[in-house]
C-alpha cells in the first residue's frame, strides 16, 4: 500500500474528526449540563458558515470574517437559547427532539430567505491555499492542516477552561449535580445561556472552517449532526474527553473505510462483489462501530455519571 | 430458640453467603451471611447508609453482587434476573413507592397475577374481562383492604393506600417469601398501625425479610433481627437478644432516635 496516500487519508480522517469534535463538544456540554437534546445544533453550524462567508466576502479577508463571525455566532446561540430553547430544559427528551426538529425547519428556511437557495462559496486566503511538506515525503493541503491545528487548539483550550477555571468548575459541578450549582448562589440561567452560547460558537466555528472547502449550504448541518450524535453516544453523553476521542475515532474510521475498505475486501471477495460491497459497507461502518460499542457498553466509552 | 425455628435454621428458606457489593469506593454490603428461616419475619435494621436497600436490591436481582452467593429455596439464585427470581417465589416491595401509576388499582394487581400465569405472548384476548386475572386480583385486593378502591387510578391513591397496593402486587405473584423495603415509610401513625396489622396477619402464610425504621413495628413483628452497620452484620438474634446487646446499643439503638 502507498504510504503517502495512507498518511494523507489518515490526516483527512483526523480533520473530519476535528470537525465532528467541534460539533460534539457543544452538543455534549449542553446535554451534560442542561439535559437538552438539541437537534438544531447542526443549524447553528450552518448559520455560522453563512455568517462567516458573508463577512469574508464583505471584508475580503477570511481571517477577519472568521474573527467577526465567532462573537456573532455566540450571540446568535445565546439569543436562540433565551427565545426558544430555555423553555425546553424542563421537558422530556422526546419533546426536545421534536421542538428542535421544528426549529431546524424554521432555521433552514430562514437562511434560504436571507441568503437564497444557492450555497455561498468563499475563496481561501493565499497563505492557506497550497500544500505543505511533512516528514516522510507527505504533502498535505495547508488549509486542512490549519483546521487540524485549530481543532487541537480548541480542544486544549476547552480542557483548560473546564479543568482550570471557575466557569469550568461550575460546568463540571453542573454536569454532576445541577441543584448544587444553584445552591452555590450562581445565576444558573446565566450559566446555561453562557454554556449554550459557547457550544453554539464551537459549532459555528466548525461550519466556518468547512465553508471554504464545501461552501456554506442549506442543510449542511443535518448529516454531520447525526455523525456528531453518534460521536457523543460512543463517547458517553456529557463527556468532553469522550467526545474528543470518539470524534477522532469516528473521523478516522469513516475516512479510512471509504478509502480502503473496497481494497481490503478484495482479499476475500470477488472484484465486482468487493466493488459493490465496499461503498455500502464503508458508509455503514461508523454506525456498525456505534452499535458494537453500545452493545458492550450501553453508556458509551466514558459514561460521565455514576462511575 | 423455639423448636420450629431450630428446624428451619437447619434448612433456611433464604441464605446469603459472604455477599459483597461496593459502589465506587463505598462498601454497601460487606461479607454478609444471613439466614432467613421459613415462616419467620426476619427484620433487618441499621442506621441510614447501612446498606439495607442495597441488600434488598441484591436479593431481588436489581443489582449484581461483586461476590458471594444467594441461595433461595435450596437453589442458587445469584445469577438469575429479577423476573426469574420472582418466578421462584421471591417478591418485593420498594421503599419509594413503585406502582403502575397510570393503571387502575385492579390493573396493577392483575398485571402481577398475569406475571405468574405463564408467558404473556398472548396478543388477542382482551384482559379487561379475563376473570383468570381479575378474580385473583380482587381477592388479593380484599386481603390488603383495597377492595373498594379497585377502579381508581393507582396514582390517585393516598400514600398509605399505595403502600398497601405495593404489598398487594407482591402477594399477587404468589410468593414464598416477601422482601419488604420499609413498608411503613412516610406513613402516619394510623396508617402504620394498619400496615402492622396487615403484616401480622400475613405472617401466618409468608416468610418475610423486613427492612424497617419504625422500631415499634420491628419489635412487634420480628421473630429475629439482624443489625447492619456499614454493610456488615454486627448482631443477629431475637428481639430480646438485640435489645440486650451492648454493641447494638452503642452502634445504633442508643445513638439514633429516628432509627
Amino acid at each position: 500500500m502507498d504510504l503517502t496516500f495512507f498518511a494523507e487519508q489518515l490526516l483527512n480522517g483526523v480533520q473530519l474528526g476535528i470537525l465532528l469534535f467541534l460539533l460534539a463538544a457543544g452538543l455534549t456540554l449542553v446535554f451534560g449540563i442542561m439535559d437538552l437534546v438539541n437537534l438544531a445544533h447542526g443549524s447553528i453550524y450552518m448559520v455560522g458558515a453563512f455568517i462567516a462567508a458573508t463577512l469574508t466576502l464583505w471584508t475580503d479577508s477570511f481571517i477577519i470574517g472568521l474573527l467577526l463571525a465567532l462573537p456573532l455566532t455566540l450571540a446568535f446561540g445565546m439569543v436562540l437559547e433565551i427565545v426558544a430553547l430555555r423553555t425546553l430544559y424542563a421537558r422530556g427528551h422526546m419533546d426536545q427532539v421534536l421542538a428542535t426538529f421544528g426549529l431546524i425547519l424554521f432555521l433552514n428556511e430562514l437562511v434560504r430567505v436571507i441568503w437564497g437557495p444557492a450555497g455561498l462559496a468563499i475563496p481561501l486566503p493565499a497563505f492557506l491555499d497550497g500544500s505543505i511538506s511533512l516528514p516522510l515525503g507527505i504533502v498535505y493541503p495547508t488549509y486542512r492542516m490549519f483546521i487540524i491545528l485549530i481543532g487541537i487548539a480548541v480542544a486544549v483550550g476547552l480542557y483548560w477552561l473546564v479543568a482550570k477555571t471557575r466557569l469550568g468548575m461550575l460546568i463540571r459541578a453542573g454536569a454532576s449535580n445541577r441543584t448544587m450549582v444553584g445552591a452555590l448562589g450562581v445565576n444558573v440561567r446565566l450559566l446555561f445561556t453562557a454554556v449554550f452560547g459557547l457550544g453554539a460558537m464551537l459549532a459555528g466555528l466548525g461550519g466556518m472552517l468547512i465553508a471554504p472547502i464545501n461552501q456554506a449550504q442549506i442543510g449542511m448541518g443535518e448529516d454531520i449532526l447525526i455523525l456528531a450524535f453518534v460521536v457523543i453516544v460512543i463517547g458517553g453523553i456529557g463527556s468532553i474527553r469522550g467526545a474528543f476521542i470518539a470524534a477522532l475515532l469516528a473521523g478516522v474510521i469513516d475516512t479510512m473505510g471509504r478509502a480502503f475498505l473496497d481494497v481490503a475486501l478484495l482479499t476475500f471477495l470477488q472484484a465486482n462483489a468487493a466493488e459493490t460491497a465496499g461503498p455500502a459497507l464503508s458508509s455503514m461502518l461508523i454506525y456498525i462501530l456505534m452499535a458494537a460499542i453500545l452493545f458492550f457498553r450501553p453508556q458509551g466509552l466514558f459514561p460521565p455519571r455514576g462511575g | 430458640m423455639s423448636d420450629k425455628m431450630a428446624d428451619a435454621m437447619a434448612d433456611p428458606l433464604l441464605a446469603t453467603r459472604s455477599l459483597r457489593k461496593s459502589f465506587g469506593g463505598i462498601v454497601a454490603t460487606d461479607d454478609l451471611s444471613l439466614e432467613v428461616a421459613a415462616g419467620e419475619i426476619h427484620a433487618v435494621i441499621g442506621p441510614n447508609g447501612a446498606g439495607k436497600t442495597t441488600l434488598v436490591n441484591l436479593l431481588s436481582g436489581l443489582i449484581k453482587g461483586d461476590g458471594g452467593d444467594i441461595v433461595f429455596d435450596g437453589r442458587a439464585v445469584s445469577r438469575l434476573r429479577p423476573a426469574a427470581r420472582a418466578h421462584r417465589g421471591l417478591a418485593r416491595s420498594f421503599q419509594i413507592t413503585s406502582i403502575f401509576a397510570d393503571f387502575s388499582v385492579l390493573e396493577n394487581v392483575a398485571l402481577a397475577v398475569q406475571a405468574r400465569s405463564g408467558h404473556s405472548f398472548r396478543f388477542w384476548r382482551p384482559t379487561g374481562d379475563d376473570q383468570r386475572l381479575r378474580g385473583p386480583a380482587r381477592e388479593v385486593l380484599a386481603r390488603v383492604g383495597l377492595a373498594d378502591r379497585a377502579e381508581i387510578l393507582a396514582g390517585n391513591l393516598a400514600h398509605g393506600e399505595q403502600r398497601q397496593l405495593e404489598i398487594a402486587m407482591a402477594l399477587a405473584t404468589e410468593p414464598k417469601m416477601l422482601l419488604l423495603d420499609e413498608p411503613m415509610a412516610g406513613m402516619g401513625i394510623e396508617e402504620s398501625q394498619r400496615m402492622i396489622a396487615l403484616l401480622d396477619e400475613l405472617k401466618a402464610d409468608y416468610t418475610m425479610l423486613l427492612i424497617e425504621h419504625d422500631m415499634d413495628a420491628v419489635f412487634a413483628l420480628a421473630d429475629r433481627i439482624t443489625v447492619l452497620v456499614y454493610g456488615r452484620s454486627i448482631a443477629t438474634g431475637t428481639p430480646a437478644d438485640i435489645r440486650a446487646n451492648a454493641d447494638v446499643r452503642d452502634a445504633y439503638l442508643g445513638t439514633s432516635e429516628t432509627g
Partner: protein, 324 residues
C-alpha cells in the same frame, strides 16, 4: 385507563374522519379537486405507519427516532423485486414484511439495551445506516431512487386481483388501515399489550413481579417495524417510486410528529395526526414557498402547549372526563 383511551372523547371525530376516508374517491372528483384522492391515499399510508409507531411510542414508551427505515425497507423490497421482474405480490409483500421485521429485530435487540436519549439516538443512527445503504446502492439508483414500473400483481387461480386501478388501490389501503387499527387494538388490550404498557409505566416494577420485559418490548418493536414495512410496501406501489429520501431522518421525525400531534397512546390519534400534519403541509405550502417558516414554529408551539395532541384538544371541547 385502557378503556378510556380510545373511548368516547374522540368517537365523533373518528367517525367523521373514517367517513371522509370512505367517501373521498367520490367526493373529490365531484367538487373538482380530484387530486385530493392522492392526498388522502398518502394520508392513509402515513396513518398506517403512524399507528405502527404509536404501538411502541405511545403504548410502549419507546421513543424510536428511526422508523422511516422500516418504511424504506418495505418500499425498497418491492422496488428491488420489481427491478428483477418479480412482481408477484404474494412473494413481494410477505418478503418485504419479513425483512422489515428482521431489521427491526436486529436494530431493536441492540437499541433496547439502552435507555432514554441513548435509545433515541441509536434508533436514529440505525435508520441513517439504512439510508446510506440506499444511497450507496448504485445498482438500485442510489440517490436518484428507483422506479417501480409495475404495481404488485395478485393472481389466484386465474383470478386477477389487480391494484393497478387507483380507486381499487385506495380501498385496499383503506381496508388495510382499518385492519391495522383493529389488530393494534386487540394487541394493546391483550396480555401482551398490558405488559408493554406496564413496561412504559414502570419497567423495574414489572420485572420484579416476574415479567422479563426485554423480550416483550423487543417483540413490540418488531411488530411496529412490520407495520411500518407495510406502509412502505403501499407507498412504493402508490408512488411507483422509491428513493433514499423516504427513509432519511426527517421522515422519522415527521412520523413522530404525526403520532404526537394526534395524541400518543390513543388508537386513532395517529390517524388524526397524520391527517392534520399532511393537510397542514398541503395548505401552508399552497400559501407560500417559504411555508416552513410557519410550519416549524407551529410544530414547536404544538409540542410546547398542546399536551395530549389533537385527541386531547378535541376531547376537551367534546367532553370533560369526570375527575380530571
Amino acid at each position: 385507563m385502557i378503556s378510556t383511551m380510545f373511548g368516547k372523547p374522540t368517537a365523533w371525530t373518528t367517525t367523521v374522519l373514517l367517513v371522509v376516508f370512505a367517501l373521498m374517491p367520490f367526493v373529490a372528483p365531484a367538487i373538482g379537486e380530484a387530486f385530493y384522492v392522492d392526498v388522502f391515499t398518502r394520508i392513509m399510508i402515513w396513518s398506517i405507519a403512524a399507528v405502527g409507531l404509536n404501538l411502541i411510542l405511545g403504548y410502549g414508551g419507546m421513543v424510536s427516532f428511526g422508523h422511516a427505515a422500516y418504511i424504506g425497507i418495505g418500499g425498497y423490497t418491492v422496488a428491488i423485486f420489481g427491478f428483477h421482474d418479480i412482481t408477484n405480490g404474494f412473494i413481494q409483500w410477505p418478503v418485504a414484511l419479513a425483512i422489515s421485521g428482521l431489521a427491526a429485530l436486529v436494530f431493536g435487540a441492540i437499541s433496547l439495551r439502552t435507555r432514554g436519549v441513548y435509545f433515541i439516538m441509536i434508533t436514529l443512527a440505525f435508520a441513517q445506516m439504512v439510508f446510506f445503504l440506499g444511497v450507496s446502492a448504485d445498482k438500485y439508483g442510489s440517490n436518484d431512487g428507483l422506479n417501480v414500473w409495475n404495481r404488485s400483481t395478485f393472481e389466484v387461480a386465474g383470478l386477477d386481483l389487480s391494484i393497478d386501478d387507483n380507486m381499487t388501490f385506495y380501498y385496499v389501503i383503506f381496508a388495510l388501515l382499518l385492519l391495522v387499527i383493529y389488530v393494534t387494538r386487540r394487541i394493546v388490550n391483550s396480555r401482551f399489550g398490558m405488559v408493554i404498557q406496564g413496561a412504559r409505566s414502570n419497567d423495574t416494577r414489572l420485572q420484579t413481579v416476574g415479567v422479563p420485559t426485554y423480550a416483550y418490548r423487543l417483540t413490540a418493536f418488531v411488530i411496529s417495524g412490520v407495520i411500518c414495512g407495510l406502509a412502505g410496501v403501499l407507498q412504493a406501489n402508490f408512488e411507483q417510486f422509491v428513493s433514499p429520501d423516504m427513509m432519511d431522518w426527517p421522515r422519522s421525525g415527521e412520523l413522530m410528529f404525526m403520532v404526537i400531534m394526534g395524541g400518543m397512546g390513543s388508537l386513532f390519534g395517529p390517524v388524526l395526526g397524520a391527517t392534520a400534519f399532511l393537510i397542514l403541509s398541503e395548505v401552508l405550502s399552497g400559501i407560500t414557498i417559504h411555508w416552513h417558516l410557519i410550519f416549524g414554529p407551529l410544530l414547536i408551539l404544538l409540542v410546547l402547549y398542546v399536551r395530549g395532541g389533537l385527541t386531547g384538544l378535541i376531547g376537551k371541547f367534546e367532553r370533560r372526563p369526570p375527575g380530571v
